[in-house]
């Protein structure tokens, strides 16, 4: 009808024109995000961890199998009794070996272990966060969309019940039933942490579905699916990303707590296990170079998730 104005455009142009505004919008969102310094800091930290996780060998001074005095495997010799007794060794810079954060009681370099453990923490954090979002968001959406029906009631009662099961002990039981592997820990964390997602998403959905744009879509004949996916979901997703970030942080800390209680896969390189080792081997008060780095690494990873999460909340929340 209105093409009479003579703007003949090619497929490609029309495609770019359709997407340009979205890109523009993302750019604006990004610039709003970058107003939050902690968000940027969080991204930078997470970025470093991501690099560590992808290519630890580039950043770590040694491999995770490196052993003080003996070097990289394959090792053809043994430590002398004296050498063994010098472990855990405080930071050393070339004499008798290079280990900037010292070693643990087995002669592994702390810095290398810290860097190699990033992958495990990233994996647990993101997987558990994603998984709990995957459970919590759809349930919250369904519960909210069918608010005040038996579906909603059933889901909410279920949430109530899950709230009654304390998180950490419940996790211990789950891990005890399913065995101590990283996967099971992730599943356990996800099973216990989707509740908050579900409740918040439900509340949000309840209020969104009363918005008149949803009603006007209904008037136009939109189906339930279209309303959920086109109208409610996009408005809920930002919050669920916030929750994903917070869940990821919670998962990283929960994994450490499990490790402290001896319920983590000890063969994995992980900060929690490093801390558990310093406890079980009894060097808490005598090897600060072993005690501090894994804790700080853990703290920074959890914090970076929180930083990103809360900055995103500010960005997605139009309040301010």
């Amino acid at each position: 009808m209105a093409t009479g104005q003579g703007d003949t455009e090619t497929e490609g142009e029309s495609y770019t024109r359709r997407w340009e505004p979205r890109l523009e919008r993302m750019k604006r969102g990004w610039s709003r995000y970058t107003e939050h310094k902690i968000g940027v800091v969080g991204l930078i930290i997470l970025g470093i961890y991501t690099l560590w996780a992808i290519a630890p060998s580039v950043f770590a001074p040694h491999s995770a199998d490196w052993v003080a005095y003996l070097g990289e495997p394959p090792v053809q010799s043994r430590m002398s009794a004296e050498q063994v007794r010098s472990l855990p060794h405080p930071p050393a810079f070339g004499d008798p070996f290079f280990a900037p954060l010292g070693t643990n009681a087995n002669g592994k370099g702390i810095l290398s272990l810290v860097i190699y453990s990033a992958r495990n923490a990233m994996y647990i954090g993101l997987a558990a966060g994603l998984l709990s979002s995957l459970v919590g968001v759809p349930l919250g959406l369904i519960s909210g969309f069918y608010g005040d029906t038996w579906i909603d009631e059933a889901i909410q009662r279920f949430v109530d019940i899950m709230y009654g099961l304390p998180f950490l002990p419940f996790l211990i039981v789950l891990v005890a039933i399913r065995g101590i592997t990283t996967t099971n820990i992730i599943i356990g964390i996800a099973v216990t942490s989707w509740l908050n997602n579900c409740i918040t998403i439900r509340g949000e959905t309840l209020s969104l579905k009363e918005r008149s744009y949803v009603e006007s879509a209904k008037v136009a004949g939109a189906s339930d699916t279209r309303i959920i996916f086109r109208h409610i979901m996009p408005n809920v997703l930002p919050i669920s990303f916030v929750f994903l970030a917070q869940d990821a942080a919670g998962a990283v800390i929960a994994q450490a707590s499990l490790a402290y209680l001896g319920l983590a896969d000890f063969t994995a390189n992980s900060w929690g296990i490093m801390l558990e080792n310093i406890k079980s081997q009894g060097y808490i008060f005598s090897a600060w170079w072993w005690l501090i780095p894994p804790g700080v690494a853990l703290m920074l990873m959890a914090a970076s998730f929180y930083f990103i999460g809360f900055s995103m909340e500010d960005v997605t929340n139009p309040q301010r």
Partner: protein, 462 residues
């Protein structure tokens, strides 16, 4: 009347009811508790003719928005029927429903809420086209959207197409909302307070636009508003809603210039600017709107009504009856303050009667004694209260003071009765309109009653 004769009604509403169930928990179900629904729309009948603009007015909470949403099938009616273009919309086939969705649209009150913040103007406006598969390709659709945007005054459309709602002003948003409604070229549009959230300065623009579009798109409007001046400006016909029902409907000018139903009257009293220069008054109605969960019996307006009808044998004045009825209501609700009465000087029963006979109305309708006492007492002597009524009241007051509320109610029940309380009035034609009020029962049957000289507004002329 003349218009309705030569045209088929586009929308026919008959006995429409919509009750919202309070959410029923498992426990309630188990215990078998009766739900007590909110009667949002309760027995509305209305015909809307093609090309008309019908206004629905009423206080907030009277059910007018629910009525609007029922008309566009956002809600399913509990009872009654809506026929659109001759078809009952509750029994549409899938195909018919599609057709219906194209022909009926709605414009919502709050433009800040009615546009999805994550969709561009283009996405929003084109959505009904997409859903209903109305226009072929992307380019065609885009052209259609542009045209409608320009029609609603958002030109050049290019500027707006890719904008997000939060980049637009309220007026622009509402124009987008209008465009979305019109993009499918509908026949019937429900406008739910379309300008109430807009700045006064831009209201006129939007309203005029809607008027223009009515002609251009050949639209029929249902215009919902609490603002009577808007109704008057926009609508050919108007309906007044009270507690889920239409109490009066007819040509706008007639309804506004000559309100027949006491509620309409009170409503217009409440609006100072209906007639510029007219004396500003407040509604002569007592109390507040009752809960739609438990509406009064009979005429729903009767507890507040200034023209409540005395029983046949009533020898006193209508005002005296109105006050006596208030006494009875207070008695039933247990609102009579025996303590306060005891503290008053004089006979406590007397004081209680005086207290019970007060009217909770704006100052200009109060008696002198009431004004003096700050609304706590009336001078019983100055009231034209029949003797038996007076005795019954005193007896009741004594019973209350004696701690026997049931006996008190019994004492007045027989004396202070009214048809308004027991019989629900039917909306009966009265001149150019339909009015649901017992005062016009007689009017239709045997002419206007003679005993209602107490009416403050102009009486019905035919």
């Amino acid at each position: 009347m003349d218009r309705s004769d030569d045209r088929e009604p586009l929308v026919e509403i008959e006995g429409l009811r919509k009750h919202f169930d309070q959410s029923q928990g498992i426990i309630d179900t188990v215990l078998g508790r009766e739900p007590q629904p909110v009667r949002a729309v309760d027995g509305v009948s209305l015909d809307i003719y093609r090309g008309d603009t019908v206004g629905i007015a009423g206080e907030s909470g009277c059910g007018k928005t629910t009525l609007g949403k029922l008309l566009v099938k956002l809600y399913e009616a509990t009872e009654g029927s809506i026929r659109f273009d001759g078809r009952d919309i509750t029994e549409l086939t899938r195909e018919d429903e599609r057709e219906f969705r194209k022909r009926v649209q709605m414009i919502f009150q709050d433009p800040f809420e009615s546009l999805n913040p994550r969709m561009t103007v283009y996405d929003t406006v084109s959505e009904p086209l997409k859903i209903n598969d109305m226009v072929g390709g992307y380019d065609e659709r885009r052209a259609r959207v542009k045209q409608v945007l320009e029609d609603v005054g958002l030109g050049p459309a290019e500027v707006y197409l890719d904008a997000f709602p939060d980049e637009l002003s309220g007026g622009e948003r509402q124009r987008v909302a209008v465009a979305r409604a019109l993009v499918v070229d509908p026949d019937f549009v429900v406008c739910d307070e379309p300008v109430s959230m807009l700045d006064v300065s831009i209201r006129a623009g939007v309203l005029n636009l809607m008027k223009d579009l009515q002609a251009e798109y050949d639209l029929t409007y249902l215009f919902i508003s609490h603002d009577l001046s808007l109704i008057r400006y926009m609508c050919d016909r108007a309906g007044i809603m009270y507690l889920g029902d239409l109490v009066e409907q007819g040509p706008t000018d007639d309804v506004i210039d000559d309100p027949k139903h006491p509620y309409t009257e009170a409503l217009f009293d409440a609006v100072p600017d209906v007639e510029l220069g007219a004396e500003r008054r407040r509604a002569n109605a007592t109390g507040e709107v009752p809960s739609p969960r438990n509406p009064p019996s009979g005429c729903r307006y009767h507890p507040r009504c200034a023209h409540i009808i005395p029983p046949d044998g009533w020898t006193g004045s209508q005002e005296a009856f109105r006050r006596a009825y208030q006494f009875k209501l207070r008695l039933r609700r247990g609102e009579l303050d025996a303590e306060a009465a005891r503290e008053e000087a004089g006979e406590p029963a007397e004081a209680l009667v005086e207290q019970g006979l007060t009217l909770d109305v704006p100052e200009e309708y109060r008696s002198e004694a009431e004004i003096e006492s700050g609304g706590h007492r009336v001078d019983v002597g100055s009231l034209d209260l029949p003797g038996d009524a007076r005795r019954a009241l005193t007896e009741a007051a004594e019973a209350v003071l004696g701690g026997e509320p049931d006996a008190a109610v019994d004492a007045v029940d027989d004396v202070v009765t009214t048809r308004c309380e027991t019989e629900a009035p039917e909306p009966l034609p009265s001149g150019t309109r339909k009015v649901a009020c017992h005062r016009y029962d007689d009017d239709r049957l045997e002419g206007i009653g003679t005993d209602d000289g107490g009416l403050s507004a102009a009486t019905a002329e035919d």
